[in-house]
């Protein structure tokens, strides 16, 4: 049934694209609302009929995965939730996959955020991923939620030398001095890896500039697709690797599934999104081609009329 649905959807999409091509060749403009419907239909059909693909990690994502794999047990990893719901579908799966990987390896997690919405998203990760899948993880000993602080790079400028100056308590009002995870942590320089997840300002770039470079702390950014190309210059010296967009998240999820049997049946939203993503990309590429065919035909007609 699902396969028939896929074939019918593909038939309708390509048939429609052909109709738009013919329309364009006749020199007519397609109403933008038809284009919107196309995009909606192609994405919705891929979601409904579960069009899914397998993924394999590219070297830049593998570097992050292998770095976490090779860290000694009980290493300290800081995850910064620097995003809002507008970036959530592509970067939240990254954060969740990373939390799973870190905890299954026995590392210690420090969760904080530079965006106000990050604190709520951190809560979601803890409630829907961390607690159900790692019921033996103890708050304060395996993970701690520091929460959000206002001030953008001002926060980073303080925590690079002294955590307690910025965070006298965690998000629940408990003094850092009474949290075991902070017994041997004075500043962000004591972290073995920092995983800032986001795509705006402040975000991964600020972490590299204000903590990674001055404090010589390894940074592995998880990035929204819009800003991923901008962070490539920092790779590999200032960022050990990077996860770019939903593809990066899907690659990390697939690496996790391949290497850890216990994650075979966990939800993998990024992997599930690759099917609709592919359909939408096909449609957009087709629109570019059709638009250019129409443009060149019109230009040639004008040139011929001019002659």
């Amino acid at each position: 049934m699902t396969n028939i649905g896929v074939y019918i959807s593909l038939l309708l999409i390509f048939g429609g694209l052909l109709a738009i091509l013919i329309y364009s060749l006749k020199g007519r403009d397609v109403d933008r609302r038809i284009i919107f419907l196309f995009v909606l239909f192609s994405v919705a059909s891929a979601i409904i009929f579960h069009i899914e693909f397998e993924e394999s990690a590219t070297p830049i994502v593998k570097k992050v995965f292998e770095f976490v794999e090779n860290l000694p047990p009980e290493s300290k990893i800081l995850i910064s939730f620097d995003f809002d719901p507008a970036m959530k579908p592509e970067v939240h799966p990254m954060a969740n996959a990373f939390v799973r990987h870190a905890l299954v390896k026995g590392h210690k997690l420090y969760l904080m955020g530079l965006w106000p919405q990050g604190q709520a998203l951190m809560t979601e990760t803890i409630e829907y991923v961390l607690k159900p899948e790692f019921p033996n993880a103890v708050y304060g000993e395996d993970y701690v939620m520091l929460g959000y602080k206002a001030g953008n790079e001002g926060v980073l400028n303080v925590i690079i030398t002294d955590f307690r100056k910025m965070y006298s308590t965690d998000a629940h009002g408990t003094s850092l001095d009474s949290i075991p995870l902070f017994d041997d942590v004075k500043s962000a320089k004591d972290m073995d890896l920092i995983f800032p997840v986001g795509g705006g300002k402040p975000g991964p770039k600020e972490w590299i500039l204000f903590v990674g470079d001055p404090g010589n702390v390894p940074i592995a950014p998880g990035l929204a697709a819009v800003v991923a190309p901008l962070i490539y210059p920092y790779y590999p010296r200032q960022a050990i690797g990077l996860l770019g967009g939903v593809k990066g998240a899907a690659e990390y999820e697939s690496e996790l599934k391949k290497n850890y049997k216990e994650f075979e049946n966990v939800e993998t939203p990024a992997l599930q999104m690759m099917g609709p993503q592919t359909m939408a990309h096909i449609v957009i590429m087709a629109f570019i081609v059709i638009g250019n065919i129409g443009f060149f035909r019109a230009r040639r007609r004008k040139w011929q009329e001019g002659n």
Partner: protein, 224 residues
Amino acid sequence: MKRTIPVIIVSVVGTVLVLSVFFPPVQTMGEDFSLFFDIIAVFAFFLGGGNLVRIHLVKIYRKRPDWGFSVVTLVGFFVTLLVGLGKLSVTGVTASVTAPDSFLQTIFVNIITPLSSTMYALLAFYVASASYRAFRAKNREATILLIAAFIILLGRTPLGMKLTGWIPEWLSILQIPNLAVWIMNAPNLAGQRAILIGVGLGVVAMSLRLILGMDRTYLGSDND
């Protein structure tokens, strides 16, 4: 005084923060200034909120077009503020304000998340429309741009591998996913680095101008 004191503040604060990188005795002062900045940032949020209330109250009072929607804004604003500042449905005054079943978390999940996500999701449709109407290979440069975009669009999906997976290993750079990776790691990296260096120099120059008092555009006009 209206213009001199702000220039002095910028110079002193900026100089202390620059020196704090090089001189440990000044580092504590630099950290304190950063903390001051964080606290003032919260007051900036309050300024934004206050301005929002003022604008919409004026709109309602003067019954300007669509003043009814200003009521919606103010109701949403004050309800969320009450729920957030009052930590409603949060057990214990020290508990996180975004505790799982708190009213603020409920507002975040059911109002802020759908609104914020959908606002940006609309851009997917406009990107598709722009692709059809505006992206033309009019010249060599535009053609290079489109070809690069095509390779990335194909390479970042499994379709790229399905189309070119048959290419043998000794020519594997021509497989679209590998080509996409190479484009990101080589020409994209180079171009972005060139832009980054230029922007970095610009930021340094601008910061220096501000600290030295040569640039005073942040002061606005004398009519303020």
